[in-house]
């Protein structure tokens, strides 16, 4: 089957669907299914102990104190990390937006090249997972809260910059051009038109970043940054499941509160969804109320100040001679890079890609199954389907259950899920894929649910008015409207999964992450550099494939 031919005979969505299925099948083979032992049935007693402990968590006074303190640390890391990433994102975002260079600076070709270089450079900090940044800074600054804050700020700052620049570029330019053409200085015109216009979208995205930061702060506990992730890892290592669940519930609660607050604010702002991938930003319904949001600014400022005070990062370390000396040491120790392990890295790279494919398959299927019951409008208010017949209790129970499962899945960091999966699966890429899959299932399911809740009603109304039964409304109305967005989100999450394979590798799941763990514990910096480069290449490759598929799907829809 050649590609040009297929373009004529198969729709791109079908083609990519087949490619996806083939990739999943190959990944399963790579994971060793049907070839070798993957299930360790003897581990079920421990898994059962873990599950049973969920109904009687440790609620002793002492542990609750620890839990409270750890939760505050995690929250404070997230606040400080978000603060810096938004600052970085705001500055860098303006500088890598097309509109800034073309309209405000009125750049010539030469300058325009500069813009593209900045944009390309931002891809590097973004491609490296926050845990790797954390490990790097740990080697320079030691066990300081600064490590966690900066480890979140750098990759998240780069992502925020990318999204901010996209938002700025997608904002209508007519008012800006009108002002510039009437003789207003470009900078002033930018400040008075584009920025205020885009402001609410920028703010909405910042809240989403905060949700992500909470999860990142928990993951960073695993390298010793403290907080809930740290406590969870310690109690998991000493197999104290009752304590473990107390920390789980704390993380669950923290994530729940942040998600809820963030969603409420977003409704206030009139930005219906968390991240609007490939969607235009439509004028919202109730933006008249949005100035109320400014009342929250003093609270936000106080929150940031309190968080910095609580964790006390030692900023003097950034430029201290000691840090520079340690930095030089690492650079010297890593050079020249040791490429001797490169042939060994090829199969590991394949494993890593396979792990990310399996993870996203688990996440997408699970997310899809849970997303429909988790929406308010699908079964519950019968706005999507015809009037719901039967009692009203069942849909409410389904809604609550689905939402709790989704929240629990995304609240627990992927490496912790992977460690749990390691009870019943042999070390290898499968436990890693399960861990990543479960965590991302929680995130994807929620994103899917949002898509369903924001469904356009008129096409469905038309179907229902025509007398179509529920099944047909679903098949011909709901699915065609939601599927393209679902696929776009899935592909986007696949990119994230690829980056996250490294963190489950650190707890013993397979692939490059596993090699990285051995190299880290052997202080083999020259090989470490090569493994990280391999990671970068894979990340860019997956990003490129994902972008290509998304573009092809968008063109066909």
């Amino acid at each position: 089957m050649t590609k040009p031919a297929s373009r004529f005979f198969i729709a791109p969505s079908l083609l990519w669907g087949l490619v996806g299925l083939a990739a999943i099948a190959l990944s399963l083979w790579q994971a060793g299914l049907f070839r070798q032992a993957v299930f360790n049935l003897n581990g079920f007693p421990l898994l059962w102990r873990f599950v049973v402990a969920s109904v009687h968590p440790d609620v002793s006074r002492n542990l609750l104190d620890i839990t409270l303190r750890a939760s505050l640390v995690t929250l404070a890391y997230a606040v400080c990390g978000t603060f810096f990433s938004v600052v970085i994102g705001a500055v860098a975002g303006v500088f890598c937006s097309e509109v800034w260079w073309l309209e405000v600076l009125q750049a010539n070709h030469f300058r325009y090249a500069g813009f593209q270089i900045i944009r390309a450079l931002l891809a590097f900090p973004r491609a490296i997972h926050e845990l790797i940044w954390g490990l790097f800074f740990l080697n320079i600054w030691g066990l300081d809260p600064l490590v966690a804050v900066v480890a979140i700020a750098i990759p998240f700052g780069a992502i925020t910059a990318k999204v901010f620049s996209e938002i700025l570029d997608e904002t209508p330019r007519q008012p800006l051009l009108a002002l510039i053409n009437s003789g207003v200085a470009p900078l002033a015109a930018f400040l008075y038109t584009l920025l205020p216009q885009a402001f609410l979208n920028l703010l909405s995205y910042s809240f989403y970043r905060f949700e992500c930061s909470i999860r990142a702060a928990a993951v960073l506990g695993i390298i010793g940054a403290g907080g809930l992730g740290y406590e969870i890892l310690l109690s998991l290592q000493s197999l104290r499941y009752e304590q473990l669940w107390t920390f789980f519930y704390a993380l669950f609660f923290l994530n729940g509160c942040v998600d809820f607050a963030s969603a409420a604010l977003r409704t206030q702002l009139g930005c219906a969804s968390r991240i609007d991938l490939n969607a235009h930003h439509p004028p919202s319904r109730n933006r008249q109320n949005s100035h109320r949001i400014f009342g929250l600014f003093p609270i936000a400022i106080a929150g940031v100040a309190l968080s910095f005070w609580y964790i006390q990062p030692d900023f003097s370390k950034v430029w201290s001679p000691r840090s520079q000396q340690l930095f030089n040491q690492i650079v010297q120790a890593s050079l020249p890079l040791d490429f001797s392990a490169l042939p060994h890295l090829m199969p590991l790279s394949l494993e890593t890609v396979a792990m990310s494919v399996l993870a996203i398959a688990i996440a997408a299927i699970g997310g899809l199954l849970l997303a429909f019951p988790a929406t308010q409008n699908f079964f519950l208010l019968s706005r999507v389907l015809n009037r719901y017949r039967g009692d009203r209790l069942l849909p409410h129970v389904m809604l609550a259950t689905a939402r709790i499962v989704l929240l629990l899945c995304r609240a627990i960091p992927a490496p912790i899920w992977a460690l749990v999966a390691l009870y019943v699966l042999f070390p290898g890429i499968l436990p890693g894929a399960v861990g990543l899959g479960l965590h991302n299932l929680g995130i994807l399911g929620r994103l899917f649910a949002e898509v369903i809740e924001n469904l356009e009603q008129p096409p469905l109304e038309a179907l229902k008015a025509g007398g179509a039964p529920d099944s047909l409304v679903f098949l011909y109305g709901v699915l065609p409207l939601t599927m393209p967005r679902f696929l776009a989100y899935t592909l986007y999450r696949w990119e994230v999964c690829m980056r996250e394979t490294v963190i489950v590798g650190l707890v013993g799941a397979g692939g490059l992450g596993r090699a990285l763990t051995e190299q880290l514990s052997s202080f083999d910096y020259p090989s470490l550099g090569v493994t990280l480069s391999a990671f970068l290449v894979l990340t860019f490759l997956v990003d490129w494939i994902s972008a290509t598929v998304r573009r092809s799907l968008r063109a066909s829809s």
Partner: protein, 306 residues
Amino acid sequence: MKKLLVSGFLLLSLLPLAACSNHSSPSSSANSAAQAKTFVTGAIPDQDPEKLQRLYGKLSSYLEQELGVAVSYQPVTDYTAAVTAFKVGDLDMVWFGGLTGVQARLQVPGAEALSQRDIDARFHSVLIANKNSALKPMRDAQELTNLKGRTFTFGSESSTSGRLMPQYFLQQAGVTLTDFKGQAGFSKNHDATIELVTAGTYDAGALNEQVWQKRLMEGKIDQSRVEVIWRSPEYYDYHWVINPSVKQRFGEDFPQKVQAALMKLDPTVPEQKEILELFGAEKFIATKNENYAQIEQVGREIGKIK
């Protein structure tokens, strides 16, 4: 008017934020000044982290009395982190395993192996097996080949008694990591290895003999389900390594003082007896860097030292 308000808010919101990021630096530098006067100890997290917390809490207060300086214990999440924190200078003295101690000294010129327990000069690993696995106690190293095709777990990646030496002895007997069923696991610490093998998650596992003996004495081991199948030859293991930077902060003879304080721990004094018991030692003895030449060589052979 409204647009002006919005941009005004943007500017206003940034100013106090910039101010508050400066606000925390004076207090944190005061913090680090206090830290300079504290002697920070650490340990590789080789056992149940809660047990370590209790043990090192007691040791810290003993050292505080003996040395006349503030002593604290800083826990870390894994073996590598202990080495890194020692290298960066966050930890002044660490209870390392054989391998991690060598790794740490190679990265910190002038670091010294100070002291160890009486048992550490003749340390052993044990292999344990779940009784349902039908693995039988072995008479000599040749029988280690019985482990081929079984599931197996080590402790931490950087553990001397839970990984390095067992892997070395297995390799000598012709058993490599690919000979196990599935992939070999890394439980992260010795207590976790006991739990996993007792529960049957793995047929067999390798761990530190002292931890095994201690848990046996405490009655924590279900002997109907797990037993020792092999005891390794002896080698040098755990030891205290001290950072040369303490000499500038606490005086040239500080390492000797610490060494003396450790060796003075007396089993006839009840509180000190408790510390020694928690360490599983009769007493502490002096050690030196040269004792770890064999560990370094094996470390290079297995690839854990470059």
